[in-house]
Amino acid sequence: MAFTPRGPEASFFEVLDRHRASLLAALRRGGEEPAGGGMRLASSSEVLSSIEKIIQDIVTSLARNEAPAFTIDNRSSWENIKFEDSVGLHMVSHCTTRKIKSDSPKSVKNFALILKIFSMIYKLVQSNTYATKRDIYYTDSQLFGNQTVVDNIINDISCMLKVPRRSLHILSTSKGLIAGDLKYLEEDGTKVNCTRATVSIIMCSCASTPYQTHLYLITDAKFLLIVEKDATFQRLLDDNFCNKMSPCIMVTVYYLLLPQGKGVPDLNTRLLIKKLWDTFHIPVFTLVDADPHGIEIMCIYKYGSMAMSFEAHNLTVPAIRWLGLLPSDIKRLNIPKGTLIPLTKRDQMKLDSILKRPYITCQPFWRKEMEIMADSKMKAEIQALTFLSSDYLSRVYLPNKLKFGGWI
């Protein structure tokens, strides 16, 4: 499918094309990992059988007058997580577990809630319908107490059955916005075109439905830019960035749907980015604030998180590069000191924590940037660039970075 030519000349993307070529070469050298990775998509009948087996085991325990219990991997324990450059943070194959017992006052409620959610998943899969985690919580909010309980149990079940969440017919609410050179087909047949220059599309949950080979994604994008803040995303849209830099794709996470998360990506956004990378090998860049929180968000996209490490193979994009705002840019561009913000104690702790993570050893340039930040004890938001000029970001900063390979 052809696109109306827009954007800079072809030579503008030379460095980008070379970068893409090197990424492809690296993939070939490393052996391309099949989509799905360690956690395979399961069919409905497989999921139903797994649940029935679990129920059978429970009934058998009771018949022997033994208290049934669930054995659950400790997802959030560092001892169960390893780092691989090609994957990021993922769970080890033989990890420590914990028991959720039915005869312990401490855990019997959790035991019951796990069974409750099992029964709901069973119904969803059986009827081939879908629900979000929020939907599940609201079926009996008093019983569950809070959303976190539901989220954790769903992740535990996903880990227990060794299937991704979407195989359980539980979707996460999409919180992503997307714009640029992308067209796709939703499950219900709706064609979505993200190329309208100044308007973003709320990401559907198409990425989280079971992988379907006939789900068409169409793009010619030269790069995909992940923007931390939706305000910046909107500003770029207003500046017609997608047209000026066409063909490209921009993605962000909508804050209002994630007030406590503030930029932390949801599952659907991560899945779509992963799918775009796996399908088209589009170079992916991040535009985040020059602060520890922004760096952490970037690390989640690139290497994954502890909480979702059991699904790392489906979510991480280790090929992501840090485009900006780099701490070294602050000095290089003479960004006024008045626009800088001192690091808080929490920032310091987070920065120290990131520096200790296993993947930082593979990223000497990232480490250097973080050390610059630590030494200066200052941070800066992307908006600091507007002090240079109101459209500095879209007119100068990003185009130069993309043209001359200013990423690390």
């Binding site: 129920i55 039915s102 005869d103 006052p105 401490k106 099992f118 069973y122 809070n146 309980v149």
Partner: protein, 578 residues
């Protein structure tokens, strides 16, 4: 064999003789083995034949025989001489025989020997009087063995050749050690009327007493003038019966009576001199010592208790008139829990006087207990209220924990049923039914619920038994406990309220006076698991001897009991999270 024969008046002297025997043995053993429980065997037999001289009258010969291990030797003649002076009316013609049954040497180097003593007396009584006296004796024996479990009583009545015999003893039963030589039997069978509960059906057949802080009693001047000397303390112990941790749906409220059991020094029951209703508010007014309103209960005295209960007859009984907030139309006779309140009165220091003086003091105490308690109303009220509050709080916590458990199990059962009944996999459904041997889904649901209930109850029972099991162990270590802190704290607290009431007379101290006092004062601390449970309960009121138990460095803490209590806290925490 020492036999004592005598003529006696019609009133039943048996309890008095038994009391004296027990006091005598307690005093003899006190100086030898600290913390040792009184052991021995007493045989009481009544042989009744139709009187040749009076119609409708039975000529009864009562024989009391005692055997026990006493270190240091016992001079029987002296014992009998003491008894003769104490109960002159009972020993008109003294016929006795005595025998040293055996000598043996234990590893401590002491030389115990068997003392066998027998006393008998005759009386002419009406059959109904014999029956009543027998019930009185039985009740007395039941009361004694609940705190002196190692004494065994053989009680037999032979009427015109027809023999009925009953053995009273609690030697092998679980106990809670309270003070020097006193241990409270925690088998709930002793405290429940037989028609009400079949204790074999209860998963946990024990009570779990909550020990209160001992307080000093003020003795009125007129009572002091009668010869009641020394400093008295009162220690309450409160328990719910049956165990509140293991429930059926019926046992979730206090609907059964409150029973009060009174014990004096040496663990002997304090018996009011007459069974008439008291004229003072002490015990007449159910709220004199306990504010029941805070527990939404309304208690009224119940003076109508049958002697023939099959369980220990309480000295005071209250019944629940109504519970606030409850439907009055509810069947108040349905099974509920009984509150057992044990009040132990003892001397602050070891009684220095002669054995027969102690026996006399015991009688004085029984007669003037109400006056003493009235004089000490505020401190007694404080310590009893605190103990009752803690026990009922445990009950409430257990009820809440049970309700949470039931709710969770219901969710689990419903979820399994949803999957099972919704499945189109006939093999899966069939396997589930077969595994639980259910004919249909309805029966499957019932069996599923029952199975879950059984596996969870089993866990609670295990914890209950572990808790009491640990209570048996500290017997040997009691005297070694560091109770200085408890003693200091409680001394300060008690003496602050003593005032000028007690007679400032120097009392002869026994060799273990202070130790005995400390042992008694840290009565609750003697039970490490109870103290541990108090430490772990976030809502429990702090108790002095809990801290002393903490400081004792006891290695006998029941980790499982601690976990159980901490688990109860988990149940009651606000967040429902996993």
């Amino acid at each position: 064999m020492c036999k004592v024969g005598m003529q006696c008046p019609n009133s039943d002297p048996n309890p008095e003789i038994l009391k004296y025997l027990i006091i005598y043995q307690r005093c003899e053993t006190a100086g030898v083995s600290k913390g040792a429980l009184l052991e021995g065997q007493l045989v009481i037999s009544i042989e009744a034949l139709n009187s040749k001289h009076q119609a409708n009258t039975l000529h009864c010969v009562t024989t009391i025989a005692a055997a026990g291990s006493i270190d240091g030797g016992l001079v029987l003649k002296k014992f009998l001489k003491d008894m003769q002076s104490v109960l002159p009316g009972f020993f008109a013609n003294l016929n006795w025989t005595s025998e040293e049954a055996s000598h043996s040497q234990d590893t401590s180097g002491l030389r115990p020997f068997q003392m066998i003593f027998e006393a008998s007396f005759a009386a002419d009584v009406k059959p109904r009087t014999l029956m009543t006296d027998s019930l009185v004796i039985k009740n007395f024996l039941r009361k004694v063995i609940t705190v002196l479990p190692k004494i065994r009583f053989n009680f037999s009545v032979k009427v015109n050749g027809i023999l009925s015999m009953e053995i009273f003893g609690a030697e092998k039963e679980p106990t809670l050690n309270l003070s020097n030589g006193i241990a409270l039997v925690v088998n709930c069978q002793h405290y429940l009327s037989t028609p009400k509960f079949d204790t074999t059906e209860l998963p946990c057949s024990r009570i779990h007493p909550v020990l209160g802080h001992p307080v000093m009693l003020f003795i009125p001047d007129d009572v002091v003038g009668m010869g009641l000397l020394g400093e008295l303390t009162l220690t309450p112990a409160v328990a719910l019966c049956p165990c509140p941790k293991v429930f059926s749906n019926q046992l979730n409220r206090i609907s059964s009576p409150l029973y009060i059991f009174l014990y004096g020094p040496s663990g002997l029951p304090l018996i009011f001199p007459n069974s008439e209703q008291p004229t003072t508010p002490v015990f007449k007014d159910a709220s004199y010592f306990i504010d029941w309103k805070k527990h939404h209960l309304c208690m009224v005295p119940n003076w109508d208790l049958s002697l023939d209960r099959g369980s220990v007859l309480p000295d005071v009984s209250y019944q629940v008139e109504s519970s606030e907030g409850e439907d009055q139309s509810q069947d108040m006779g349905s099974q509920g829990q009984t509150v057992l309140l044990f009040l132990f009165v003892d001397f602050h220091r070891e009684f220095p006087g002669q054995k027969m003086e102690l026996w006399g003091v015991h009688t004085l105490l029984s007669t003037h207990l109400r006056a003493i308690l009235r004089e000490s109303h505020s401190v007694v009220q404080g310590c009893i209220q605190a103990a009752v509050d803690r026990a009922l709080e445990q009950h409430h916590q257990a009820v809440k924990a049970h309700q949470k458990l039931q709710a969770s199990l219901s969710v689990a059962v419903d979820s399994i049923m949803s999957i099972m009944t919704g499945s189109t996999n006939s093999t899966f459904r069939k396997t589930c039914l077969q595994t639980l041997q259910a004919a249909d889904t309805q029966e499957f649901r019932t069996k599923l619920h029952k199975s879950f209930h059984e596996v969870t109850q089993h866990r609670f029972v295990y914890h209950c038994s572990q808790a009491v099991k640990q209570q048996l162990l500290p017997e040997k270590n009691e005297a070694e406990q560091n109770t200085d802190e408890a003693h200091e704290n409680s001394s300060l607290e008690l003496l602050a309220g003593t005032g000028e009431q007690t007679e400032n007379k120097r009392l002869k101290r026994g060799s273990q006076g202070m130790e005995a006092t400390r042992a008694f004062r840290s009565a609750g601390a003697l039970n490490p698991s109870e103290a541990a449970s108090r430490r772990a309960e976030p809502t429990a009121a702090p108790l002095t001897f809990s801290r002393s138990r903490t400081g004792s460095g006891s290695g006998l803490e029941d980790a499982l009991w601690l976990q159980e209590i901490s688990n109860l806290s988990e149940w009651l925490s606000s967040g429902p999270g996993p």
